[in-house]
Each structure stands twice: as structure tokens, then as C-alpha cells.
Amino acid sequence: MSLKLKALTKSLWVFHLCVGGSCNNCDIEILDLLTPRYDVERFGIMLVGSIRHADMLLVTGSLTYKAAARAKRLYEQMPKPGIVVAVGSCALGRGIFKDGYNTPCPLDELIPVDVYIPGCPPKPEAMIAGIVKLVEKFRGGK
């Protein structure tokens, strides 16, 4: 694994994006990861305020018409190499809003998703397991 990717796995800066229709429960569970009980900062993961500083786009909520253009633009603004993580069943495939009037398509038809973390909402342990699987995938062969 090249030095660039090795440094990337040890220092992931996360930008949290909530697209449109979401009950915010996944957002609360993501916030739990930064509290003393799980403390992901010891792995180098940090929450950043600007998309230009981010390596990882953490998407929650089911995609809506209004948010679609903005989500695509945010993905293009993230400096590559970048990772997209879809958290919660709404981000995976619109969840219970599958037949809603304002949800055009699942997220991965708009931007390429690397890690899917299912659950409604997923427990913080599940999110950490997802990040570990991502790091293993990097070490395995990319």
C-alpha cells in the first residue's frame, strides 16, 4: 500500500452531510462516535467544517429532489482521493421512503458510494466496524 494511502487510512477527516429527508437519528448516532465512550479521534478521525478539508463524505438521510444537485456538487468539491460512506437505511436505498413523492433515486445512482452501513439507526459499533472493513479493503489491495 502506497505511503499516500497509508497516511489516508490513519488520518480520515470527515464531512457530515445530511441530504434532505432524514429524522436525524443517524446524525445523533454519528455524534456519539466523538463522545468519550467511543472516541474515534484516537484513530485520527476528525470532524471538519469545510468540504475542501475532508477525505470522507458521511451521508445520512434519503435523497430528495432539492438536495440532489447539491449532493452531487459537494461530491465533486471533495478533493480526491475521497471516500463516500452511506449511513443508515435511508441513505442506502431510501429506506421506508422508497415510494415517496420527493425521493427521486437511491444515493448510489448519483454519487459512487464506497461503504454501506445498514441500520435504522446503525449503532456506533456498526459504524466503527464499517470503517474497519474499509481500512482492511485498502490494505488488501487498492
Partner: protein, 303 residues
């Protein structure tokens, strides 16, 4: 050639870069511990720097030349200050007349580099950060210079850093006197603002204006800005020690005093809310300038 070695390796760019990144790690670790967390490992800041070097750089719609140049302007000037202060402690007799004024001017340049770079990015959120940064610089420079005027008066009116240090080696630390102690407290608060730490970090407010001044920076330009901020964290407490507390400049005593100042700054950072920019302005031009003026008057009276 010795000058090039001093500027690039020790005590210049390489040495102050490494020590600055470790000082930033001490900041993150103490912050984590105060919040009952574990915190990152010691090499975290170095890994962050490496990772940022490998990311793509995006240039905004504004003036690209200024956008590219601003981080390097800040880095060059802070390296110069680190070299001057480092050589001061190695051999106080080698400083030149007026180097205190040179250091004061050079220490404003990192703030100007941030203002230039953020303005060149032509982002409205960055322009809010720029206006706040400009107001903050106006606010804290006045009591800072008054506190340094106290030091100049007490060290028998000299503007040579080497003579200030040797005066303290012979006559005891300037912060031993009443005026010196008041000026030291004023200088610590001004240092907190210059380092851009809570309660005075309104220009880079993360939750409010989405990283403010640095919003458009990515890749190695952001790495240079973060390195500049870390080197500022290394240089500023050392500068304050050389002005106020240089009664004993052996390496252990310097290390102990530096770590103590760093911990004071970090603890103030962790226990304070963020001040609004008008509150910060009123704070610095009101009570703090009054304290600094009292310190100058006491120094003139000989206390």
C-alpha cells in the same frame, strides 16, 4: 553557510516544524484528556501533514497567484522568527539592535498571510472570517505592544533582545516585579488571541462559518497553513519567556517554562466559550489595555 543551516535546519524550519507539530499534539492530547477521552497518538500531526500533501489541490475562481503565494509568505516569516528566537537562546550576545522591532513586525505577517489567502479565495464565508481576523489583529496588537513597552522600560530602555535576556540573567526575571507580572498576564491573553485559540478564535469558527478563513484551502496549501499555525504555537511562548521569564535559560528550565505556558494556554482554551468579535474588541480595548497602561505607569515609576 552557517546562516543557511540555522534558517533551514536548526533552530529554523526543520527543528521548529517538528517541535511545533509535537506541541500541537500536546494540545490535542491534553484537550482529549480534559474531556475524559483518550486522544490521538504522538505521530498524528505528522500523519495529517503527509496525508494533506497527497491530496488534490483545488484553485478557486479568485486570484490564483495570491491564493498560492499566501501560505508560503506566512511560513517564511514564521521561520525567520523561529530562527531569531532560537539563536537568541543559544547565544544572547549575537542579537542586533532593533531585533525586537523586527520580531514584532514579522509576527504580524502570519495573520496578514491568512487575510490575503482568504480574500483571494473569493468565498463569502471566507470574507466574514477575514473581517473578523482584521478586527482581532487591531484588538490585540495594542495591549501586546504596551506590554512589551513595559519590558523595554524595565530592562533599562533597550530594544535589543539579547540585552533584555542578559539584563534578566543578571537582575532576575522581569515578571518578578509588579509591573512585569501585570504585563505578563496581558501578554498571555494577547498570545491566546494571536494563536487563534478559543475564546478568541472567531475567525476560524468551525461550527459557525465552516472553517472561515481556510474554507477553500486543500492539499499541500492547507498543510503549509497548518504547519504555520503549529510553528506559531512553538514560537510565541518562547518569545514571551525571552521577554519576561529569562532568569535561567538552561535547557531544562526553558523546557519546563515552555510546557507550563503551553498547558496554561490549553487549559484556558478548554474551559472558555467563544467570544463574539465585538465582545473580543471591547475586551482588548477596554480592561486589558487599561491593565497594560497601569503596567507601563508602574514601570515608569520604577516598580
Amino acid at each position: 553557510m552557517m546562516i543557511l543551516f540555522n534558517y533551514l535546519v536548526f533552530p529554523g524550519f526543520l527543528f521548529s516544524g517538528v517541535v511545533g507539530l509535537i506541541a500541537s499534539w500536546i494540545d490535542r492530547k491534553v484537550t482529549a484528556r480534559v474531556q475524559w477521552r483518550v486522544g490521538p497518538p504522538w505521530y498524528q500531526n505528522f500523519v495529517d501533514f503527509l496525508k494533506l500533501m497527497g491530496k488534490e489541490v483545488t484553485l478557486p475562481r479568485g486570484d490564483k497567484a495570491t491564493f498560492l503565494f499566501a501560505p508560503f509568505l506566512g511560513l517564511i516569516s514564521i521561520t525567520l522568527v523561529a530562527t531569531i528566537i532560537g539563536k537568541l537562546f543559544i547565544n544572547p550576545a549575537e542579537s542586533f539592535i532593533g531585533d525586537l522591532i523586527v520580531v514584532l513586525y514579522l509576527l504580524i505577517i502570519p495573520a496578514i498571510a491568512i487575510i490575503l489567502g482568504a480574500s483571494a479565495s473569493s468565498n463569502p464565508l471566507a470574507s466574514i472570517g477575514v473581517s473578523r481576523e482584521m478586527k482581532l489583529v487591531l484588538a490585540y496588537e495594542l495591549p501586546f505592544i504596551l506590554a512589551i513597552a513595559t519590558v523595554i522600560i524595565k530592562a533599562s530602555t533597550t530594544i535589543k533582545l539579547g540585552e533584555i535576556v542578559t539584563y534578566q540573567l543578571n537582575n532576575g526575571a522581569i515578571l518578578g516585579s509588579v509591573s512585569g507580572l501585570i504585563a505578563f498576564i496581558v501578554a498571555i491573553l494577547c498570545m491566546q488571541a494571536k494563536l487563534g485559540l478559543v475564546p478568541f478564535d472567531a475567525s476560524e469558527a468551525e461550527q459557525e462559518i465552516m472553517a472561515g478563513v481556510f474554507i477553500e484551502y486543500s492539499g499541500f496549501l492547507l498543510a503549509i497553513f497548518k504547519l504555520m499555525k503549529s510553528m506559531l504555537l512553538y514560537v510565541m511562548p518562547l518569545f514571551l519567556i525571552s521577554l519576561f521569564w529569562a532568569a535561567n535559560i538552561s535547557i531544562y528550565s526553558l523546557l519546563g517554562k515552555y510546557v507550563l505556558l503551553l498547558v496554561i494556554v490549553i487549559l484556558v482554551k478548554n474551559t472558555s466559550p467563544r467570544l463574539r468579535i465585538d465582545q473580543a474588541l471591547k475586551f482588548f480595548w477596554g480592561p486589558i489595555t487599561a491593565l497594560a497602561v497601569i503596567a507601563v505607569v508602574l514601570a515608569l515609576l520604577g516598580k
